[in-house]
Amino acid sequence: MTPRCRCAAGPRIRGACRCSRARRTLLTLALAACCALLVACSGEIAAPESGGTKPGKGDAAGKPAGDTPINSPAASTASLEGVLQRCDSSRVGAPQLRRLTIRQLENSLRDIFPQAEGGWQGLGLNDVSSKIGFSNDASQLVVSPQTAGAILAAAEQLAGFVSTEPQLSKTLSCASKADAACGKELVTTYGKRLFRRPLTAAELETYAKLFDSVKASSGFGAAVKWTLVALIQSPHSLYRRELGDLQSETPKLTSYELATEIAYTFGDSTPDQKLLDLAEQGKLSDPSVRLEQARRLLETDRGREGLKQFFREWLRYENVRTADRPAIASFAALRPSLIEETDHFLDQVLYADQGGVRELLVSPFTFVNGDLAQYYGFSSYPNGFEKTPRDADHGAGILAQGSLLASAANSGASSPTQRGLLVREKFLCRTRPKPPANVPPLSSSDPTTYKTTRQHYELAHAQGFCKSCHVQFDPIGFAFEHFDQGGRYRANENGEPIDATGNLLALDGTEAFSFDGLTQLADGLADDPEVVDCVSGLLVAYAFGGAAGGSCLAEEARSGLRDGDYGLVELLARLASARHFTERDVAAANSGDGASGTSAESPTNGANGSTGATGGAAAGGNNGSAGKAGSGAAGATGATSGAAASGAAASGAAGSSANAGTQDPGAPSTPTTRKDIGITAQYQANNAAPADNVIGPFLQLTNATGKSSVPLESLEIRYYFTNEHGELCPDSCRVEGYYAGIHPTGQGVTANREYVSAGVAKSGAGAGATDNAYLKITFAPGPFLEPGQSVEVQQYFHTNPYLEFDESDDYSFDPTFATFKDQPKVVVLQGDAIVWGDPPP
């Protein structure tokens, strides 16, 4: 399979056709930033945890990068930017302890104690999802008081059951003797199964003492019970140990650690006897043995279910289980069947067909039983689930699954927004833009003005404020319009023929490809190597529990998938051959993104720069990752220049316009004349961190005490700051505007923003030349500021590529201005007169 080039102006990289990742990265940043305050006019976009925040602003929690909060273990965690990243060769992550997921713990206990079937109820908890939706992110899996209580309660219930006859004799063949030797056998046998390694002599002694102590006071059965409780809830049982010998800086995982990693990665449960034997024999250091075991386990029921769990968490098709579709009477009863349909489909594609991403997207069949066939309007009604071909225009692959279609819909109608976002996030790994604060309800559109859902969305999102972001995903979602909120095919809606045409935009805003209907969309996606990289990156991140931010841990295996050498199951199996599978780098533990910064590989797509720049997850890394970020970003410079930033500014200006960076030819003069027209200027430090890569003041002028209207075009605002990278301006400096409007009317206004050099640095000055500059904001003719009214302007300034500023000495900057407050260090001019504020000396 030869991937076709679909990217506008994308250079070929490493023989494959791909957009310049650097370019994509920068465009992502620009679009995300512009959308941060401009988008989402249906209320269907909700804020992501990260992404959409401004570049370089620390993590989603608003904490500075690298600041690990009390009571939180999180440091590195997988991000969409991370999983999309490709490198020339694979990286190695940090040593770690991975708490078993609730599911893995329950599987393990059921496998180790088959005699407990029916005697315990499980843990009754679910795990907390990571920001990309996975429940197995090692940075998030902790034993909190609630989890510890659940584990203890379950352990007592299970151990109580198996330590009582008739189960006791199944638990221990020596139980009838009820002696100390039998206690040692208990500790030795179950200790090895639960710890997944032989116990040390000290551990054997400790547990034997516990056994003897309980036995002395309460008898053999109680001793069995409490010894098992201790073993089950021991940290050696609850954590997958991937440490190796920490005396080494690059520890190799031990034989038993490898057995554990293989067992849980590919079998979702504890090592079986075969794996423990191989570990004891030291054979798991052989990659071919590991690969063989991985393949073996992936074929087991547990392995299949484990892989399916990835799909459930990735695509959330099980959300249909609790979906309400009141207009479809049969829907509620069919929800389990919709999920089962997708499970069968995945079994076929992944295992029977050994398919990859293409097969996942374009396979022209599904599995239905009689009820589902009737529900979908198929012509034949099988008794059980049977493989059934789809009509050519009835969609294809995973995206046409009823469970997925119904999960990404509203209760009373389909949702092009949700479905477009599904493709964008889950198959393109693009972060969700953060919605603005004041989102009008979708239903506010006049219902007499549209007949179809598409018309409704087009109407609601047609204007600049909404359109600037919805244009990125609604047109993708239109491809799904042949499917209603229950996932059923429809040729018409309210008597109107369905229009399922749309397009998918590249990050520079150009059209990547267009389509008519879901089948064509799926085909287009299947041809896009970016989609394959996204899916493979997500699968690797899941398998490795989010290590190293999910980036570049198995590049060779991912390339095989992209090249069509094998399918997704084999990709997963081949992770057993990755370096990260067998060794770790202690230095990576504190590198910020949790990956080795010492290896020679480098990112090929600039996404490393993206990671550092967008989520802040990589910030704090200082042993190589920062260099990578710089190189990634630097790559962006040549690839994109001003198109990204100015495009973002223009699309995101919402009634305003942004001048992407000009420089006065000479040192501007500062007026000294003053007059009072009743105007006040307020300032809000939208980004309060003094060290970051954007200058982002929010400013508000109020006609506070004036008695008459003030034409906005007569006013000029100056925000003063120092630009430590003055040599880059004007060519590589950007001023992005993302909101300008009058309060309280909400009237949008056009604001012009410029970077103005104070003349210290000129083009061609040396590196690091500092420019005492200001942002100059003026307004287009027309609007007036009436007495009592305010005009708010939001913008930020950055270099291209994004470089760090030190705002601590900036004249107008004040990090304490969390909300709008009067700022005399912002100057407002009317003509040649100062009407507010004091210019810098």
């Binding site: 929690a61 302890l97 907390v128 510890a148 203890l152 009582t164 309980v214 009373g412 506010s444």
Partner: protein, 469 residues
């Protein structure tokens, strides 16, 4: 004895089912009932998402003489309890940053860090909190189309609430005859708690040793520190016997909404039922009944209730006058100042929630306290009702002006926080407060202090002295 030995074990086994840490559950009841403080204070935290339209909420009048009958009167159901009410205007969350993400610090000292304040109070009481959910998102922390963490309560990690009121009730008050709950497999040994402590001590040692082994790995050490803290909490709570005392007769009283759920044959076992949004009208009243009975009996001194979530698109057509397009978040809460009719419907929805709280909890607690008969339970309780937003359309988390009716009227949008109840005599009540954009963390700090906990355990915040008696 009010409860049998079997119940003791059942409670232990099922403690997780009510969001309790299992071994804490029984000792909690023992402490509450055996040694109440001079007045046995209780706390209930209730979260209603997406703010309120202020034109239907904000009382008019003065601090000590105010009128709740504003517009659709979201606070109207509290008219009879005005003397026990505080309306807390002018609080703000964080730096005033906007949107539903504020939920992730609504009860915390910062965003996604620390312990939520009800945990501080519960620990000072020596008893775990009963944390309930009325149709929250199923996946805790899920971001897809949610916009915010689907969680409020935190201790080491997000705490997952008990979403099934039947299980919560059974765990607290015992399953009725004919219940499908399994019988205990063996009698509880008298020295179980000693063995439990012994086992936990062994685990504690293992954790300390492992922590030392990974000392080069900060993140792994942090994980183990959380684990160690959890084990120590369990160990502390395992001290003493598991005996459960009787608070008073009448506890575990009528819970008709819980019983109605039992009659839905699938409800008891079908987890999905409790995550299906159309079932909110059945589940919410049932959870309120469980909460009220738990507080009344002293089975829980701290109760938390998360009702729905910030971006729920549940259709509220179960209320009169609502249509099938009235989705809670996208339609109702997003109605801006030009959509007065929709805003009024949103207010009605919020009033329905408040009415439920009053009918099912406030009225029930307005009776002599079994632990302190000279006062009512309500006198001894603080019910803190909160939201992550001020106005659902503005998405603001601080005080901001807003124009409605096409710019004709300016109103102040403010976080809709209230308290109900006297806090065991420690809390000033019956007042309309205006704090002028004061951090809401000060409020939680103060609530900790009012209830006898150390505010500093929550964080370095300021006490609101005027709220104290």
């Amino acid at each position: 004895m009010y409860r049998s030995r079997e119940l003791r074990r059942r409670m232990f086994l099922k403690a997780m089912g009510v969001g309790l840490t299992a071994p804490l559950a029984a000792s909690f009841a023992r402490r509450v009932l055996a040694a109440p403080s001079p007045r046995p204070a209780r706390l209930m935290v209730v979260y209603f998402p997406d703010g309120v339209p202020p034109e239907h909420y904000t009382p008019t009048g003065a601090a000590d003489s105010f009128d709740l009958q504003v517009g659709e009167a979201v606070l109207g159901p509290l008219e009879a309890y005005k003397s026990q009410l505080n309306v807390l205007l002018g609080l703000k969350i964080g730096g005033g940053e906007e949107n539903h993400e504020a939920i992730s610090q609504l009860l915390l000292p910062g965003r996604e860090i620390g312990q939520s304040f009800e945990q501080i109070v519960a620990k000072s009481f020596g008893s775990p909190a009963l944390l309930l959910g009325a149709v929250p998102l199923k996946s805790v922390g899920e971001q897809f189309n949610s916009g915010a963490k689907n969680a409020l309560f935190r201790d080491g990690d997000w705490i997952r609430t008990q979403v099934n009121p039947i299980r919560a009730a059974d765990a607290l008050f015992g399953a009725p005859a004919g219940s499908s709950m399994p019988a205990p497999t063996q009698p509880a040994a008298a020295d179980d708690s000693a063995f439990r402590r012994q086992v936990l001590a062994l685990t504690e040692g293992e954790l300390e040793s492992l922590s030392n082994e990974v000392r080069k790995l900060t993140q792994e050490q942090n994980k183990l520190a959380i684990h160690l803290d959890a084990v120590r909490q369990l160990k502390a709570s395992a001290s003493g016997s598991m005996t459960m005392q009787v608070a008073a007769s009448g506890c575990g009283g009528a819970m008709p909404s819980v019983d109605a759920l039992r009659d839905l044959t699938h409800a008891g076992a079908d987890t999905d039922f409790f995550y299906t949004e159309s079932n909110l009208p059945k589940i919410y009243p049932a959870q309120l009944e469980v909460a009220a009975q738990a507080l009344l009996c002293g089975s829980a001194r701290v109760v938390g209730l998360q009702v729905s979530y910030g971006v729920s698109e549940a259709v509220w057509s179960f209320l009169p006058g609502f249509s099938s397009s009235d989705q809670y978040h996208g339609t109702l809460s997003h109605a801006d100042g030009s959509k007065l009719e929709i805003r009024a419907r949103f207010a009605k929805a919020k009033r329905w929630l408040m009415q439920g709280l009053v009918d099912k909890v406030v009225k029930v607690l307005d009776q002599p306290d079994p632990l302190d008969p000279s006062h009512t339970v309500l006198d001894n309780t603080i019910i803190y009702v909160c939201s992550e937003l001020a106005d659902g359309a503005m998405h603001n988390t601080n005080t901001k002006p807003m124009y409605i009716d096409n710019g004709k009227t300016m109103i102040q949008t403010q976080l809709p926080m209230i308290t109900i109840g006297g806090g065991a005599g420690a809390l000033q009540t019956g007042r309309l407060w205006s704090f002028g954009n004061r951090p809401h963390t000060d409020m939680m700090f103060t609530l900790c202090e009012l209830l006898g906990a150390r505010g500093s355990d929550f964080g370095a915040f300021q006490s609101i002295a005027e709220l104290k008696v």
